[in-house]
Symmetry: C2
Subunit: 192 residues, 2 copies
């Protein structure tokens, strides 16, 4: 079943608008945080609030849809690296990819690593998939003797989130400081 075929396949304009909302909301929340009013999202998408609310019954639902998409694409990315030649490079490369992940911001990142219990089943499932995919990369890197064996996927996820937020809190323009923080965490993950 294609992901577009939600329930009964929307009318063409409805589908277009739905995508537009997702796209705009994603960019806006990423850039300015969750505090941006719904009306503003609708305005930027060139739509009325009513339209937006037909697609996403709640602001929270909209946010969840975005996080869900982000999680899915991250899991996808992880799976793509599953068969790489160098397990260590694949693992750390994936971490770097998450950390550099443009268009994600604090609020999104928090939701990504959050407990997830407060969200629905779909969220739990997506989170599970991401953990499985990351777990595969992790297991290979551990088997190759690159990553310490006492870590679990969930912890890695939490760590990466922490790294990301730490980098974001640094005064801007300190590219090297950011790189250093990432390097510190990666070093901590390696076997000594």
């Amino acid at each position: 079943m294609s992901p577009a075929a939600k329930k009964k396949s929307l009318r063409a304009d409805a589908e277009r608008n739905r995508q537009k909302v997702l796209e705009v909301a994603q960019a806006t929340f990423a850039a300015e945080g969750l505090a941006v009013p719904i009306d503003e999202i609708a305005r930027r998408a060139g739509l009325g609030v009513g339209t937006l609310y037909r697609h996403f019954p709640t602001k929270e639902a909209l946010f969840q849809a975005i996080v869900l998409g982000k999680m899915a694409s991250m899991a996808e990315e992880a799976r793509a690296q599953a068969g790489a030649k160098d397990p260590g490079a694949a693992f750390f490369g994936f971490l770097a990819h998450i950390v550099e992940g443009s268009s994600v911001k604090k609020d999104l990142m928090e939701a990504l690593s959050g407990a997830g219990d407060e969200f629905g089943r779909a969220m739990m499932r997506a989170k599970g998939e991401l953990r499985v995919a990351l777990g595969a990369l992790l297991a290979r890197a551990q088997a190759a003797g690159v990553v310490r064996r006492d870590v679990e996927a969930g912890e890695v996820l939490a760590l990466v989130t922490a790294t990301y937020t730490a980098m974001g809190r640094l005064p801007p323009g300190h590219g090297e400081a950011r790189a250093r923080i990432f390097a510190i965490v990666c070093d901590g993950l390696r076997v000594r």
Copy 2:
């Protein structure tokens, strides 16, 4: 000048209420986040909102006062460790102290490590003091060959606070997972 002698020394009941507000607000924000309404803080303190607002002209001002106090006590703690025999233990012990720091939560932590520019001079100064105090511990640990030399105090602070918030998001009851995450970050900070 004693810290209680704010401007003109308050009347006894006023001073008492001021402390009560700080205490309650600290605990409440820590436990439930900044979203708790001012009215609720006042209620829990057994006071009217009017009283609260005479002491802190703004919700933000109240929050700043709390963060300021937290920063000062952390800097104090760091200074207390300044002359310890084992520089490495002093440094990592201080980090552990921050991470275990009960009664601090996401919002507070973010403010603690945030840019700080958006707050007043007092905030900047407190932050500066904390960085200096931590910097001293860091320098000694580096000189002792325990901590890698390419890190700066600001980076350590950002990393540790982010680690704290990430740990808080882990499913509850995973004490060992938390410990492991902290250990990983510390290992990353050590010289190899």
